[in-house]
Subunit: 349 residues, 2 copies
């Protein structure tokens, strides 16, 4: 006997990304703001002034990628239980990508799922991490290997937060912006090349276009079965670099910058990108002080590491590469491992 | 500026529940069977003979509700990483509800979600836990408080597994069957009263009808926003009992049996169930040796405990009760706490 389970179709979750100065927010439910001491010191007062709720708690977690662990997430859950937060409650992620990823993951598993709102305070989180519902934590086996796809109720992107952001972190965000341009939009790449991305008017345009591009991708492929994989351009390499360096040496965007240069070198070898265009991308990254070099001590070990990546389905490494020029993309899972190792070996320290 | 995120609608996940002798199963991907030593000893050989996959691993976890913890889930994830399982991999839950809940939860967060299949080996898991996609673990704050809604790829219910099930565990499963009948189907209740539920032909009919009823509910309310809450008849009380007794004294179904009797006593007080019908339900539970008594040491503390339950939204306790007679249901969130405490105080040890 067969009993089919066929849930009545529900409309997919929709939500808005609001790019503007943070408006007053009013919730009828208990709210917990998850943040870290650095962000709290800079922004918590202003945010608290704008939030009204039946109860407001603030949970601080340690600052830094090395604390993006299941233990930190469990500590958030424990504080929610202790404060008697029920299933109607809401989490607010106030901080960068680390805070957003952990808060979203905590929301996804607390009592089988409660709502959460993103208030990203770094450029990286604003243009990338806060959009698309990827949540999770790092493990000793690699980055973001435990987590969930879980959509927020809303994302509030306030460019004013960026005024206190260290230049290095700002540049790390620009790396992801450049990624979007190289994969999807040549005109946008030209815009990035032609403008000072520290100027307020450029900043807003840069954020808006990045978010738009990412939203288009995510709308078509929420669970990363196809198109969304393109967003991993540079990341396949970056994850190994971050893992090899213990997540402490490079900011994520910095590792992505190196990863894009690695991917581009491979693309040049495969005839998927002209040398001149690869150099343009590299130059734009360098203009913002992003790293473009990395000493690969052991190309064999580096290659082996790819197989711990979530994207390495069925034992094949999927390389996301430019698809012939800037503004286009392709996926290749048939690249000769020897070629990859040769390209890696060329990378100097 | 507002960027809406509106994912392209995807059809809801559908899957089949197959009630039959376990058929040969063939997977093109790596498979890990999660089970415990008791089930492995009894059934693993037979299951392994029926499974073909590109790779088959067996992960044993300790037997018992007290090991239904995040630590056990993390140990499953760790073994998956160590065995280099990628996102195409599949978990198979071979065991009772504890194994199913933990395996499903592990599948839901491993690399942001991999597939899983349920092969429930206890009556409780066959008629209840394996259907509907609730996964999770217990915490020191209560039962199933960390978890996810996550649907399996398929559920294989093989009544042959029940031949080795201890009578006490079998009875615990019958408690959930009686629950379904009391809430939804008076004719089914009459059937249960009129048959020996240890006889093979009754068993298959009992499983099939329970699964059908549960499937109907889950199809209409996957995420427990409305109708699905009816399945918690008896559970609001049972969760407190299990928590007070440290999850060691009663099987889940036994606690549910007590919980239903408690709910019925409340329902009688509220005029929602006749005394005679309450006695019929109690008698049917007792016929299978299920407990129907519990000493409530401190009714005040017992009542307070309700507020840790996921179902206690907005500070109100939602009681699921018969809706006037056997085969009907209602939800009441306006019950006088004093009445509840009086009913609890009446319960003897």
């Amino acid at each position: 006997m067969i009993v089919p389970i066929e849930p009545v179709p529900a409309p997919p979750k929709r939500y808005d990304i609001i790019i503007d100065t943070l408006p007053p927010l009013r919730f009828e439910v208990p709210v917990a703001i998850v943040t870290n001491p650095t962000v709290a010191r800079l922004h918590l007062k202003r945010v608290l002034e704008r939030i009204e709720a039946s109860k407001v708690e603030v949970f601080e977690v340690p600052d830094g990628e090395e604390y993006k662990t299941i233990d930190t997430v469990l500590s958030i859950l424990d504080r929610l239980f202790a404060a008697r937060f029920d299933r109607s409650s809401l989490l607010i992620a106030l901080g960068g990508g680390v805070i957003g990823d952990m808060t979203g993951f905590a929301a996804s598993i607390y009592q089988r799922g409660i709502g959460f709102v993103q208030i990203p305070t770094t450029l990286l989180a604003q243009v990338d991490a806060s959009v698309g519902g990827k949540t999770g934590v790092n493990t000793r086996w690699g980055k973001n290997l435990i987590g969930a796809f879980y959509q927020p109720e809303a994302v509030y992107i306030d460019p004013d937060f960026l005024s206190t952001l260290p230049k290095r972190e700002y540049a790390a965000g620009i790396a992801e912006v450049i990624k979007m341009a190289v994969m999807f939009d040549r005109e946008f790449f030209d815009f990035l090349e032609g403008h000072d991305l520290f100027e307020r008017s450029s900043v807003v345009r840069m954020i808006a276009r990045s978010v738009e591009l990412k939203a288009e991708v995510v709308n078509q492929d929420e669970k990363e079965r196809g198109l969304r994989a393109v967003l991993n351009y540079g990341h396949t390499f970056a994850h190994v670099i971050e893992n090899e360096t213990g997540y402490g040496r490079y900011l994520h965007g910095e590792a992505v910058a190196i990863g894009m240069v690695m991917a581009n070198e491979l693309a040049v070898e495969l005839g998927l990108l002209g040398r001149a265009e690869a150099d343009r991308i590299r130059a734009l990254l360098e203009r913002y002080g992003l790293p473009v070099r990395y000493r690969v001590e052991d190309p064999e070990a580096f290659y082996e590491h790819f197989f711990l990546d979530k994207k390495t389905a069925g034992g094949k490494v999927k390389f996301i590469l430019p698809g012939g020029s800037i503004g286009t993309h392709t996926m290749r899972d048939d690249v000769d491992p020897d070629l990859v190792r040769r390209v890696l070996a060329r990378f100097g320290g």
